[in-house]
Amino acid sequence: MVNTKTTLCGIELDNPVIPASGTFGYGSEFAELYDINCLGTLSMKGSTRDPRFGNPTPRIAECAGGMMNSVGLQNPGIDAVISTELPKLRKVFHKPIMANICGYSLDEYAENAAKMDKAEQVGWLEINISCPNVHCGGMSFGTVPENAAEVTRAVKAVTTKPVIMKLTPNVTDIVSIARACEEAGADGVSLINTMMGMAIDLRTRKPLLANITGGLSGPAVKPVALRMVYQVSQAVNIPVIGIGGITTAEDVLEMMLAGATAVEVGAANVADPFACKKIIDSLPAVMEKYNIQSLKDIIGGAH
């Protein structure tokens, strides 16, 4: 029997597979299909202080090897998430969950973190400083090391839960951002969020997405994600969650060899509702194939 367990900021996961924020809703659609307790944990759709519709539609486009989205953080607001979605999720998911939050100001980040800190179900806070689809806020906090550090400090000041900073790949030097987060007290980093892209509709001769640009994700971004996880995990001493283009158990192993302690699976859930379950089910056999007894042993093995 192989060992698929991993430990993320002091909390043990049965396996490293975590549905990525924004691609799994609040879990209920998937709980109708299979027992989602097979997941390591799950990262909920990003919450903001106020309810948001998000960007105008169309906000999804297909491309070679993946997709682009410009959803723009549609969510019912953090209070509704806590009062409505968390109780619903509790009925179908019995493990600590990861609460993904976003903000438009330092104050908002702190306010949202303080609210999630009180939610007993929440095991980790994942702080999105990397959303390319919201203007003023979101990614602008994640592209400058000092700003990223400021958000980290603001959040750390109001919570005792592990804080994982979610980083954007749309920067010249992601390592400097990760280091700034670590120095400011982050307990982990997750990367990557989507890469800025766009699509043109030949029929209309205009951008296909109403927002003009969107975030690229899916298999097309995996090499970039692997490279960034490899570089960041060498530079910091906090755990790294590897995200980007994971669709198979083989991808999970590659990401862990690159230095990830756990992984998040995003676009794959959009293409196949059973994606995470299939990855988890096939993980032991693939580990055996590559002579891996315990996942913990291979983290950063490629360094």
Binding site: T23, G54, T57, I60, C63, P273
Partner: protein, 243 residues
């Protein structure tokens, strides 16, 4: 919703750029007309959504227009090939509110789902009429099949080569109906919404990511809040539309 493998029994051209695909597999997740399926195509990351045109306990039919790369490739798929589908997606039409004389109004790729809906309404003993809009006579498809179910069909063509010249709304004006169901392009929707004499249901299309409510890609604002076309729709009632 169910995920399943289906075998292609038939994939034939009905009209220029319009194909009928008949699939064999487990259809038990399909509850009613107006629901859709999401088909995985080789070499494409996202699925393609199509309304259910007809189904039995072991087969289902969709009728699709070849508009882009995916549908063009699908039209080349041969009988016997296996494809992977999500079935039973979306809310579908509510026929309990139709009254005894429902009217179906459809244009273009909105026509196929009206076959399933007509079948359901006829089985409920209702007197069903339909206005089906096409560009030109050569584009007409499924009209005979819908008529054969016992529906009183009126055809409109934009160039007047068959039926009434003009748009579906030109034919709707003097019709007598208790309720309407519609699917078609947005311009048609807005015209129908403007002139319709009764309440009704609209089946929307949207660029979708997942097709089952997880990604928030397809949301539309309504008077009853934000609705995901794939999960809370595709069918919305007239009174909730913000037009």
């Amino acid at each position: 919703m169910k995920q399943g493998l289906f075998k292609i029994l038939e994939n034939k051209e009905l009209a220029p750029d319009v194909h009928q695909l008949v699939l064999e597999g487990d259809t038990s997740a399909i509850r009613c007309a107006g629901q859709f399926i999401d088909i995985r195509l080789d070499g494409h990351f996202l699925r393609r959504p199509f309304s259910i045109c007809d189904w039995t306990s072991s087969t289902l039919t969709v009728v699709y227009r070849t508009v882009g790369k995916g549908t063009a490739e699908l039209s080349e798929y041969q009988t016997g090939k296996t494809v992977e589908l999500l079935t039973g997606l979306g809310n579908g039409f509510d026929t309990t509110v139709s009254g005894d004389k429902p009217l179906l109004v459809a244009g273009g790729s909105g026509v196929p789902m009206m076959y399933a809906l007509a079948k359901e309404l006829i089985a409920e003993g209702k007197q069903v009429s339909a206005v089906l809009g096409y560009r030109t006579a050569a584009d007409v498809f499924l009209a005979n099949d819908i008529e054969a179910l016992g529906v009183n069909v009126t055809i409109t063509t934009e160039d007047g080569t068959l039926g009434i010249k003009g748009f579906v709304t030109d034919a709707m004006q003097d019709m007598d109906y208790t309720y309407f169901y519609t699917c078609g392009p947005e311009a048609m929707f807005k015209a129908v919404h403007r002139i319709a004499a009764t309440s009704g249901q609209f089946s929307f299309e949207a660029r979708m990511g997942c097709g089952y409510g997880a990604c928030m890609g397809c949301t539309m604002e309504t008077k009853n809040g934000y609705k995901r076309i794939c999960k809370d729709g595709p069918v919305l009632v007239r009174e909730e539309l913000i037009w």
